[in-house]
């Protein structure tokens, strides 16, 4: 199999594009990211590694705005992310200039995915090593959407999804616990999913909330408060489980 992964323009005999699969491995090593769609809110949450003490954390924004009504979070190679985000931002403004309308979430997702695909079918280049979670409200219908793209260039819409480190555990949690939520409930669900795989605490999580008014990054204190609420709820649930059992004995 090693002979088929030098230039990505070649398929392996059993139909694999190894460079794309290795890019997906790079994504699996990236920080955990989760996105949850509610009825009036969409929440993005990203893990923040707190080992870098001397770094100015404000210069490392992991959830970015592409336009007034679109935000993106990603997992994988951050340098590749910078390039992709820049191209997407230009496309958002270019679209507004040529057709005098803002992009829909699907349009910009299709654009980013198209860009990622191009790099799987060109000579001498490697794929982008990142998966993105793109959220936003449709500027005409006001419908909230969450999309995911990956290094192969595929994209699809989701009610809730996770990518990056331990994304399988987060996705399992979301599958078990997802329900239509709105406002604060959506934020709590996203943070609960992240807490499954991330150390608890406001300084380990970055959360941003997209509403019709725009994107709002939550302050550390706010996140800490919600985390405390979640832990309290968890403790209460544990206690409730133990109490009937002890009555039976």
């Amino acid at each position: 199999m090693a002979r088929y992964d030098r230039a990505i323009t070649v398929f392996s005999p059993d139909g694999h594009l190894f460079q794309v699969e290795y890019a997906l491995e790079a994504v699996r090593k990236g920080n955990a990211a989760v996105g949850v769609r509610g009825t009036d809110t969409i929440v993005l949450g990203v893990e923040k590694k707190s080992t870098v003490k001397l770094q100015d954390s404000r210069s490392v924004r992991k959830i970015v705005s592409l336009d007034d009504h679109i935000a993106l979070a990603c997992a994988g190679l951050k340098a590749d992310a910078r390039v992709l985000i820049n191209r997407a931002r230009i496309e958002c403004q270019s679209h507004r200039l040529t057709v005098e309308d803002p992009v829909t979430v699907e349009y910009i997702t299709r654009y980013i995915a198209g860009l990622q695909q191009k790099y799987t079918q060109s000579g001498g280049v490697r794929p982008f090593g990142l998966s993105t979670l793109i959220v936003g409200f449709d500027p005409y219908t006001g419908v909230p959407s969450l999309y995911q793209t990956d290094p192969s260039g595929t994209f699809s819409a989701w009610k809730a999804n996770a990518t990056g480190r331990n994304s399988n555990s987060m996705r399992e949690f979301l599958e078990k616990n997802y329900k239509e939520t709105s406002g604060q409930e959506t934020i709590k669900l996203a943070i609960r999913a992240l807490l499954e795989v991330v150390e608890s605490g406001g300084k380990n999580i970055e959360v941003a909330v997209m509403t019709k008014e725009g994107l709002r990054q939550l302050e550390e204190a706010e996140i800490d408060a919600i985390v405390a609420e979640i832990e309290a709820e968890k403790a209460a649930a544990e206690a409730a489980k133990k109490a009937p059992a002890s009555k039976q004995t």
Binding site: S65, N86, R89, Q93
Partner: protein
């Protein structure tokens, strides 16, 4: 016959433009908004070739937005003015934009400012500026009555005097004018001065 003029007051800047869209002897409409709100704290009054005006001002607005998304902070008025001048200068010897611009902006650090940007890429930071045939009258009026640190009421009164002068002395005077203002609270439309209802 397009008139655009502007002035700086105490903590604000004003831009006034006529609102007629004319093609030789036909007036297409008299409520054409020629003062574009570039971002939250910038106003751009433009006069000149209609197609170039729309194309250039929209292009500048989208690039100003892009800068903000890329860098997380808005451009200063000075930076926006220099960007515009650069674009006009680059196009000048190939395919010039026939647009004259009065750029007004408010920055938290430096306060209000006004820039005169000509179609051949002249850039001047000024307290009062005017373009078009109307400038013969509005500039003279402002030279006589303008003083630094005017209040909004004083500046509006001066703008009205300029509009009156244009209306009475310019042979094909525009019918309606729009006044837009930018201060620490942002850029917004202030009022209209109409003679027709279109």
């Amino acid at each position: 016959m397009e008139c655009v003029f502007g002035m700086v007051g105490k903590g604000f800047a004003l831009v006034v433009a006529d609102t007629s869209a004319v093609n030789s002897i036909l007036v297409h409409k008299s409520n054409e908004d020629k003062i574009m709100i570039l971002d939250s704290h910038k106003l751009m009054g433009a006069s000149g070739e209609a197609g170039d005006r729309a194309q250039f001002t929209e292009y500048v607005q989208k690039n100003v937005s892009l800068y903000q998304f890329r860098n997380g902070i808005p451009l200063t008025t000075k930076a926006a003015a220099n960007f515009m001048r650069g674009e006009l200068a680059t196009a000048l010897r190939k395919n010039p934009y026939m647009v004259n611009i009065v750029l007004a902006g408010y920055d938290k650090e430096t306060g209000p400012s006004l820039y005169f940007i000509d179609y051949i890429a002249t850039l001047h930071k000024v307290d009062k500026a005017a373009f078009g045939y109307g400038s013969y009258f509005s500039l003279a009026m402002m030279d006589r009555h303008y003083h630094p640190d005017m209040t909004v009421e004083e500046a509006i009164k001066l703008a009205e005097q300029c509009i009156e002068e244009i209306r009475s002395r310019l042979v094909v005077a525009p019918q309606n004018f729009v006044i837009k203002i930018v201060d620490k609270d942002g850029a917004r439309e202030h009022s209209w001065r109409r003679t027709t209802k279109d």
